[in-house]
Amino acid sequence: MKLCPMSACRWLQATALALAVLAFVGASDDSPRFKDLGHRMMCTCGCGQILLECNHVGCQSSTKMRDELLAALDKGDNDDLILQGFVQNYGPTVIAAPTASGFNSIAWIMPFVVLALGIAFAVHIVRSWKNRPEPALADGIVIPQGSELDEFRRKARKETGL
């Protein structure tokens, strides 16, 4: 099949336009996804910084990783796939927080379990305190309760102007 020069030219123009569009709609280093994923990973140079916060000029790890992230985003991979790719290349420590699956999920669950247990314990303590008998008082002393106590409070407020 013979391709006429005019048609070839159009194809070339269309391809160039498509590439340009792709380049513009693709990930840039300030796209929200780039920022989000870049903050979910660590730089592997040993600085202990989040990938996008590593500020060593010429840091070979973070520059390379940023480029890889941009490339993966341009490729159209989803977030999980991109993160998995980084784990395969750099090991599990590249992810800045434990995943929410398998053993790692315990990392996320445990603080809330402790919070729940703590609340249950505090409620138990409060209930046991409330149910504890009053300490014995010296003869003749009566602690005001209910409306009598409210009356004392009212008088105290009136006297102090509050």
């Binding site: 916060e53 500020n55 590249v94 402790v114 303590i125 409330k130």
Partner: protein, 670 residues
């Protein structure tokens, strides 16, 4: 070695003397006390010798060789004492001996309790001196020929704050040994009453204040030196300093319940034990290298020593806590959920949950390695997602707690006390939405809005408490409101000092909540090149380099414009330290107080390096809104603590000689 023998004697003789109550034991106890005092002299002498060696560039001492050099400025030569492992352990020991010295001089307050506390402090002292003598000797001599110059101090430590930050942090860490020693002593001897709490109250508050300043100076150092634009990276060593602060804060609150109501005695013991152990854990983390950290400046095998000591301390504390638990029974019952007691209980619970979350997150990589065979990273995303919501609940309690009375609070008083703060805080939330914050669009905006509302609630609560009390005094004494509020503070320094601390905490939270609104731009800048960030335009006027005996440096001259008007010039810098051969970035920070008093923003410039091809500097500009409030909040927290430390003034007298009554708010009490 002399200090080790003296402190060993102080511990053993003190222990023996406590078994008997005869005259011979009293004499033995007195010799133990004097040995403790002499320990301070011996450790102080050792520290002075090390500092003098640093000033004299005595590189025959390995420690001086590794942490100093001839051209190191004098202030950093002084800081050499705590810049490396051996020196900082000597410094730890010196501070502990100093605290012990003061305690042993004041022994007449309660001789037997002080003897117990002195013996316990001596045991901790023995531990540190054992390490110094046998595992991390600060005076170890260099092998072979004495080098002509030292290897230099780590560049990260060559910053003015590093001369203050470690002493503050260590004063906090070490200081908790004193309330710990009194608590354990009181438990062992079944000390009657709560006098030990009154004795240690000021110790605890001063220690807490030092630790607070230490933690915040650490954050400021990270902000001003590390150059990533943030101040808290949830690094293990940062976490290690925060954990004892959290338990110490819980102790400061719950101990009031024991003082006033005779409740939470076991809890308070457990809290002060935990605070001391977490302080030790902090030192262990910094020094052992078990967890990687940018702050772990030294790593060695002394971690094993710490683990053994922590284990032993835990065993001793647990034993006496169980054996003498009958001594720690509560004397009162809780009357209502709407009371100061229950707010303290839940405040303690939340503080400990945050503490547990941090401990858990810090050690989870080790657990993962053990269980899964590989480490995982537990970084900022984890801590932000888990600890921040709990911390916000804590802020809610900080606002609500002071308005609740001891024993019981009526619904009527809750309504009355909360009305003004609640309206004010809701208005703040509304204003944020009005100014374009969309909490429903992003979780970080949601947290920022909630944090702003809760901080406002705390601030308005504090203001309303001051106003209410001030008005009562002003009405009775015919003073103006400000004088009346100052007098109010004088009359109950602990309570109103505490409110000022809460106010400072709210400002710190306001400073933190600006994080989601941070902006950053990175650009290579030639002469006249511009960066536009927020309302600011940064223009590169020039870039140059300089040299001095300690380091060579490159820096850029950046003019900062706003609204077409130049407001300042900044000089972000990068240094190359000659002795260590290491580079160091020094960001420059401009807080915009003159332009935005309340919504103050830091313009934060980092000289990241030079493009080797073009020779032009790469500048990273950050715009960090509200950050300066964090440091202002710290100053207010310290001020509040100082107020709380001042003794209460005597009851005020009115002109007609009628004593003024204490402003008995429904929410009255400490």
């Amino acid at each position: 070695m002399a200090a080790l023998v003296l402190s060993g004697y102080c511990f053993l003789a003190g222990l023996l003397a406590l078994f008997h109550r005869d005259a011979a034991s009293a004499r033995l106890g007195e010799t133990a006390r004097r040995a403790g005092i002499a320990t301070f002299a011996a450790v102080l002498l050792a520290a002075i010798v090390l500092v003098v060696a640093a000033f004299n560039d005595d590189f025959s001492i390995a420690y001086i060789f590794h942490h100093s050099n001839r051209d190191l400025p004098a202030a950093y030569k002084f800081a050499v004492l705590w810049s490396g492992q051996e020196g900082s352990l000597l410094f730890w020991s010196l501070l502990l001996a100093g605290y012990g010295f003061i305690l042993r001089l004041r022994y007449k307050t309660d001789q037997r309790l002080f003897a117990y506390a002195s013996m316990i402090i001596a045991s901790v002292q023995v531990f540190f001196l054992l390490i110094l003598n046998f595992a991390a000797h600060p005076f170890a001599v260099m092998e072979g020929a004495v080098p002509g110059d030292g290897a230099g101090l780590n560049p990260l430590l060559q910053y003015p704050e590093m001369v203050i930050h470690p002493p503050m942090l260590y004063l906090g860490y070490v200081g908790f040994t004193v309330p710990f020693a009194f608590a354990l002593g009181a438990l062992i001897m079944k000390y009657p009453g709560e006098k030990w709490i009154q004795i240690t109250r000021r110790w605890t508050m001063v220690t807490w204040c030092f630790l607070t300043v230490g933690v915040f100076l650490g954050a400021h150092w990270a902000y001003a030196v590390l150059g990533w634009g943030g101040y808290w990276g949830w690094d293990p060593v940062e976490n290690a300093s925060l954990m004892p602060w959290l338990t110490g804060t819980a102790f400061l609150h719950s101990v009031m319940m024991q003082e006033k109501r005779g409740m939470l005695k076991v809890w308070n013991m457990a809290l002060i034990f935990a605070t001391f152990l977490l302080s030790m854990l902090g030192t262990f983390l910094t020094r052992s290298g078990v967890i990687s950290s940018v702050h772990a400046f030294a790593q060695s095998s002394i971690g094993t020593w710490f683990l053994v000591f922590i284990g032993l301390t835990l065993a001793v504390c647990s034993f006496f806590l169980v054996a003498n638990r009958s001594h720690l029974k509560s004397e009162h019952k809780l009357e209502s959920l709407a009371s100061r007691e229950s707010s303290f209980l839940f405040n303690n619970l939340l503080l400990l949950v945050v503490c547990f979350t941090i401990l858990w997150g810090t050690f989870f990589p080790i657990l993962s390695d053990f269980v899964q065979g590989h480490k995982v990273t537990v970084g900022p995303p984890f801590f932000n997602r888990v600890a921040v919501p709990v911390a916000l609940l804590l802020m809610l309690l900080t606002a609500v707690g002071p308005l609740l009375a001891w024993r019981k609070t009526s619904l009527e008083s809750i309504k009355r006390n909360f009305l003004f703060p609640l309206i004010g805080s809701v208005a703040v939330g509304g204003m944020m939405i009005l100014f374009g914050v969309r909490p429903w669009e992003d979780p970080s905006y949601f947290y920022a809005t909630v944090a702003a509302v809760l901080s406002a609630l705390v601030i308005f609560t504090v203001i309303s408490e001051f106003l209410r009390g001030g008005r009562v005094i002003a009405g009775k004494t015919q003073q103006n409101l400000v004088s009346a509020m100052i007098q109010l503070c004088h009359r109950n320094t602990r309570r109103y000092g505490g409110y000022i601390v809460h106010f400072g905490v709210a400002l710190v939270v306001i400073g933190i909540l600006g994080t989601p609104f941070n902006k950053e731009v990175e650009k290579e800048m030639g002469f006249g090149d511009k960066i536009k960030i927020g309302p600011y335009t940064l223009v590169c006027q020039s870039y140059t380099q300089d040299d001095n005996p300690n380091y060579g440096n490159e820096w850029a001259i950046i003019n900062v414009f706003r609204g077409g008007k130049q407001i300042t010039t900044m000089y972000p810098e990068r240094r190359f330290y000659k002795a260590s051969g290491q580079p160091q970035t020094l960001p420059r920070i401009y807080p915009s107080f003159r332009e935005d008093l309340f919504l103050v923003t830091d313009v934060y410039l980092v000289y990241e390096g030079k493009n080797e091809t073009t020779g032009r500097p790469i500048i990273k500009a950050h715009l960090n809104p509200l950050v300066p409030w964090i440091w202002i909040g710290l100053i207010i927290m310290v001020f509040g603590t100082i107020i709380a430390l001042v003794p209460n003034a005597a009851a005020v007298r009115v002109a007609v000689t009628t004593p003024v009554r204490e402003p008995a708010h429904v929410g009255a009490g400490d």
